[in-house]
């Protein structure tokens, strides 16, 4: 039993999972009960995550580790824990659930039971992926996130949902299989050289970096390639991104699945948690090329977002664009870069989540998801418009709001990095300009100008304004005082970077 005296981290995974099962088994017509169970579980999970945050000691290394033997013959363990790198991802993962449930309140009652159950399962598997210490356990949760999401798209989606669901499942799955081959290879080669069967990521990273396990450079690059393919597709990085806009076009209009799906940033997280500690040399070797892919992601996604007639697809390209900054930060292999990457992931969860809530509110009107069919929403819904403007600014990266810090730190890391450098900054900065362009254009089309005759939008309801207001406050707080988040990350990131720096 860990320091806290109760299995906090396991509970973080178990609470939504069990709640999902209970919702599934609830009577078909007990709508209030289903929603109640889901809401209670989501809020309980937030409380648990906050308990974890405040109880954490500011040191590097895993805390609150729950460990249990799984398949002892090959050293497989169920091991989960919290540390500076994943605690805020877990917090965002838990916070996003009440937000998704809020957005899902417009889900038709007779179709909500399975929907809530699947959302809960998705939450459980994403949190599991964030907290897993054991490599294969991570892989199991990583894969498991695909199943409920594909089911959500197939069963509750709109438009081309079947094709979108298949592509959503198969494309990342293909990448993950190569990850499995790399994991098997890493573990077997370590066993052959040290005689110890272990899937523990900390132990493996230690063995690789201390020289207890020496691998041929070719082999290292090939193993890294397996990790890279899986995480690159999942993040997604250009050109492996095509599954995401298609999937997000097919999710239900209210945006709950997209909000929950923001957590599929497990791909980028995987780079920080596993690829970096295991293969720092390969990442250095790949950094220039990946940096270019990241820049292309930032700029290309921005340009494509410009021409979108579907606000949800526009937002999915915006996400891809933001993740380009994350990748730049990670591959810089500096403390600033990685901090910036993590912060950008957290910010992306917040701001893009808020944007999906806004789109969900708009999509209820006859204009649907087409920005051109709206107009002058700021005039007819002033408070809604103001909040939306702040969220748009945060997404662009205006200083004073959260987006700026994340992007700035990532770029600072890229500049300071011996593997990247100044050239990449110029590309990224161009991307910031492009993101300002398409987001402000969307804002102008929808919120400004003459009030649309075909699709007038009334002022948002008090609860919607409240939720958006809370998110905006969070964005302002993080923007003005990012140390709030950064201080818990510092020890772990510093330890990570110093552990992998070449002598």
């Amino acid at each position: 039993m860990n320091q806290l005296g109760f299995p906090l981290v396991t509970l973080l995974i178990a609470v939504p999972f069990v709640a999902g099962l209970i919702v599934l088994l609830a009577p078909r017509h007990a709508y209030g009960l289903q929603r109640g169970i889901a809401s209670i579980a989501a809020i309980a999970n937030v409380v648990l995550a906050v308990i974890g945050l405040v109880s954490m000691a500011p040191v590097a290394g895993y805390q609150f580790v729950d460990s249990m033997a799984w398949f002892p013959a090959i050293g497989l363990k169920y091991a989960v824990g919290l540390d500076g790198i994943n605690i805020w991802m877990v917090i965002i993962a838990t916070l996003v659930m009440p937000l998704a449930l809020f957005a899902a309140r417009t889900q038709p009652h007779d179709r909500q039971r399975g929907f809530y159950a699947l959302l809960m399962m998705l939450s459980a598997s994403t949190i599991g992926a964030f907290v897993a210490i054991d490599l294969l356990l991570f892989y199991v949760f990583f894969e498991l996130t695909l199943v409920p999401t594909a089911m959500l798209i197939a069963m509750y989606g709109v438009g081309e949902r079947k094709a979108a669901a298949i592509k959503f499942f198969v494309y990342p799955f293909v990448g993950s299989i190569f990850l499995l081959v790399s994991i098997a290879g890493l573990v077997i080669l370590t066993w052959q050289q040290t005689g110890v069967w272990s899937f523990d990521s900390v132990a493996l990273a230690g063995a690789l970096n201390s020289g207890a396990v020496t691998l041929d450079e070719q082999v290292t690059h090939l193993l890294f390639a397996g990790f890279f393919i899986a995480f690159a597709i999942k993040t997604p990085i250009w050109p492996f991104h095509t599954w995401m806009p298609q999937a997000q076009a097919a999710t239900p209009d209210h945006g709950a699945v997209d909000i929950a799906g923001l957590l599929l940033k497990v791909g980028a997280f995987g780079f920080i948690r596993f690829a970096l500690p295991f293969f720092p040399q390969s990442m250095s070797w790949a950094a220039p090329a990946v940096g270019i892919l990241a820049i292309i992601s930032i700029i290309y996604a921005g340009i494509v977002a410009f021409g979108q007639h579907d606000m949800k697809v526009l937002l999915s390209y915006a996400t891809i664009s933001h993740l380009g900054f994350v990748i730049l930060g990670i591959f810089s292999q500096t403390v600033e870069g990685i901090s910036g990457a993590l912060l950008t992931m957290i910010n992306s969860g917040l701001t893009t989540g808020a944007l999906f809530v806004i789109v969900g509110i708009l999509a209820r009107n006859p204009g649907g998801r087409d920005p051109n069919s709206f107009g002058g929403v700021w005039a007819s819904a002033p408070r809604f418009g103001t909040l939306a403007l702040v969220v748009v600014f945060a997404s662009i990266g205006v200083p004073g709001l959260n987006g700026f810090i994340g992007e700035f730190l990532s770029l600072q890391g890229a500049w300071l990095s011996p593997h990247l450098g100044f050239g990449y900054i110029s590309g990224a900065v161009l991307g910031i300009v492009v993101s300002a362009a398409y987001l402000l254009r969307m804002f102008r089309t929808v919120f400004m100008g003459a009030v649309s005759a075909t699709s007038p939008v009334a002022e948002a309801s008090k609860s919607e304004l409240a939720v958006l207001g809370v998110l905006v406050i969070a964005m302002v707080v993080i923007g003005l005082y990012p140390q709030l988040i950064l201080q818990s990350m510092q020890p772990s990131i510093t330890a990570l970077v110093s552990g992998i720096s070449q002598p």
């Binding site: 002892p72 090959i74 199991v140 894969e143 089911m151 069963m155 198969v170 799955f173 098997a184 077997i188």
Partner: protein, 471 residues
Amino acid sequence: MAFPSIDFMMIIQLVIVLAGATILLVVDLFIPAGRKRITAVLALAITVAALVAGNYATTGTTLSAMIGFGAVSHAVNTLILAATALSILLASDALPKHGIERSETYVLMLLATGGMLLLSQGTSLATLFLGLELLSIALYVLTAIAFPDVASEEAGLKYLIVGSFGAGFLVFGIALTFGATGTLMLSEIAAKIPQNGIERGYFWVGVSMMLVGFGYKVSLVPFHMWTPDVYQGAPTPITAYMSVGSKVAGFIAIVSVLQVLGSELTTLRPVLMALSIASMLVGSIVAISQQSLKRMLAYSSISHAGFVMMAILNGTPASIEAAIFYLTAYTVTNLAAFAVLMVLENNDTDLTIGNLGGLWQRNPGLSAVMALALLSLAGVPPTAGFFAKFLVISTAWQNGIAWVAVAAAVSSAIGAFFYVRCLIQMLSGHSDVAPARIPVSTLIVVIAVSVAIVLGGLMPASVTAALALAQ
């Protein structure tokens, strides 16, 4: 002439099954036509008795060292008999539904099981051949048992012709091996190889031909062409039984033959790797274009055969255990998938992917089982199929053939597409067909295999313990 001594406790499972089959054939004469379910129950009882008896069997060899029994045989026999029991349960519901419940079906299934047990326990080439022939001939008849259904008869005839062709290779290979080594006993052949007491040329041709013969049985590429047609034409419970039983038995026979080679296995490895990769890739690629579910599952079984071969070709005890785990996962998964098909078939015995549409709304429980089976076939955690794939990929790394594992990954990736296509079809789409009723025996099977698939993924140690595999 002295009769060789027989340790009956060693072959107790064989005796129960084969004697039971013969007695059942006679007893069945006295069972009235409409009550053939009694035959099914008796057949099930015989199978369970054989399963239990395995715990009391002694190890060693008997019958002039032609049949043996050991830990591996015990594990494989358990798997074979469990698969048979589940197939009998499934058949007892599915066959009457299509009006083809003939008592000979259960007797033939028991005889085929006897053949499988012989393949698993055989320590002489003669016994292996006997087992293969017993298994094959019973299966030829079982495939055609749905007469006057033309598809079934055609499938049976195809199986007969191709199977005999394969058996011919096996017999000729055995003859050449005998000519080269002077003995049919596997242990004696194994002893002679390092001593250079054999005719190398004849020996290698003989072994290769034997592998071709067994390759036909387990549908490795390029000996696989019969599989889709036969799986599609045969009655679905027979397809289910065939797909699991003959693979398990065939592969164990291949293991026995390969173990004889000892260190000489390295000469044959490139060929085996080629067979494995070809099977994995061809199976997955061609399955994409299949609309018929039975054909799709046939091609999927071809690709799974490739995975098992990837493990077996290494020859180490760990890889054989991984192969047996894979075969177990494959057995329960296939039985689950075919069980769902059997419930859904009414007049049409060749369901297509479209028939799965809207299953989630009609029969949520059944579609959950099918989803579990499809995910396990694809290798998505936390199912038994995932762990099985992981174990065989690990054996590839352990034995230095990691690039074959990459081919396996490519095959899995391709496979994911058609499995997920079926899954999504089940979840979306609409259907006006009434919800299907699940009969009791099928329900038992469905629950048992679903539990096994989930257990295999969450607690793989329990599966290896159940099979009593030495770890």
